[in-house]
Amino acid sequence: MSFFQTNKESMIKSRIVELMAKKIGKEASKDELDELSELLLKNPGYAYLLEIVLSLKGSRNHFERDLPQEELVDHGSGRQIKSPAFGR
């Protein structure tokens, strides 16, 4: 593959990412959505990436389980808050 082909390919991939960002960020126009659909047809790997990104979701249980407990210190008279950002 020549340098120019590689360069063109990387420009297309950058454009796909840019359009995907706009789509996810609810800022894509109809023309941009059409352009993205066309590009994804030619680059099915990126269509899979978009599917993955769209399927991402948060987990409340995970959040509650993983709250960083090291921010809380016990001084004997009960827990006190120790947060670098809030100086407490």
Binding site: L49, V53, L67, R88
Partner: protein, 185 residues
């Protein structure tokens, strides 16, 4: 959301307010936690914001975008707490903590191996804080690029760039799977 806000403002409807609170509290709590880094303080910040909202419910229709209003109020309240307790003027957005944000692909929606799922989770967890916050606010909270820019007080371009960085990192990590997928198709 608009009908709820209407009931809160014009009917003083506490049930509507509770419903509105329930719909929004977890996202806002997570956002507050990014600044406050502890549970109790984050709860206090979010409750302060909701209390003020209830107290000023007669002016609810003057708020252009209630989501942006809530996030900005949480951020400002967090900054006020920080200022009071540390004397520092403002916390930089780079100082936020995003370890508690967790995004994972839904295997019911998309077919993938457990190994790939783990790799995606790791890749998202390793994003720089600002990038991870932007990605989470857009992907999980459903905000737009423009809304995130206003909330975080950064430019539209910066939000857009951070989002692209997150996507590029995922694309890079998934390179082998993406190629495999192209071959399969």
């Amino acid at each position: 959301m608009q009908p709820l806000l209407h009931r809160i403002q014009f009917d003083n409807d506490e049930t509507a307010f509770k419903e509105f609170y329930k719909e929004n509290v977890f996202r806002l709590f997570q956002f507050a936690f990014a600044f406050a880094r502890n549970k109790e303080l984050s709860e206090e910040i979010v409750n302060d914001v909701f209390l003020k909202l209830w107290q000023h419910r007669s002016k609810l229709n003057k708020i252009k975008n209630i989501q942006v209003y809530l996030y900005v109020s949480v951020k400002n309240t967090a900054f006020n707490y920080s200022r009071k307790n540390t004397g520092r003027k403002n916390m930089g957005i780079e100082e936020i903590s995003t370890d508690h944000f967790y995004l994972s692909p839904d295997q019911e929606q998309i077919l993938m191996t457990d190994e790939l799922k783990k790799q995606i989770e790791q890749s998202i967890n390793q994003l720089p804080p600002k990038c991870k916050l932007v990605f989470k606010m857009i992907k999980e909270d459903g905000l737009s690029i423009a809304e995130v820019a206003v909330i975080l007080g950064i430019s539209y371009k910066t939000v857009s760039t951070q989002l692209s960085i997150a996507l590029k990192k995922l694309a890079l990590l998934l390179q082998p799977s993406l190629k495999e997928h192209e071959i399969k198709i």
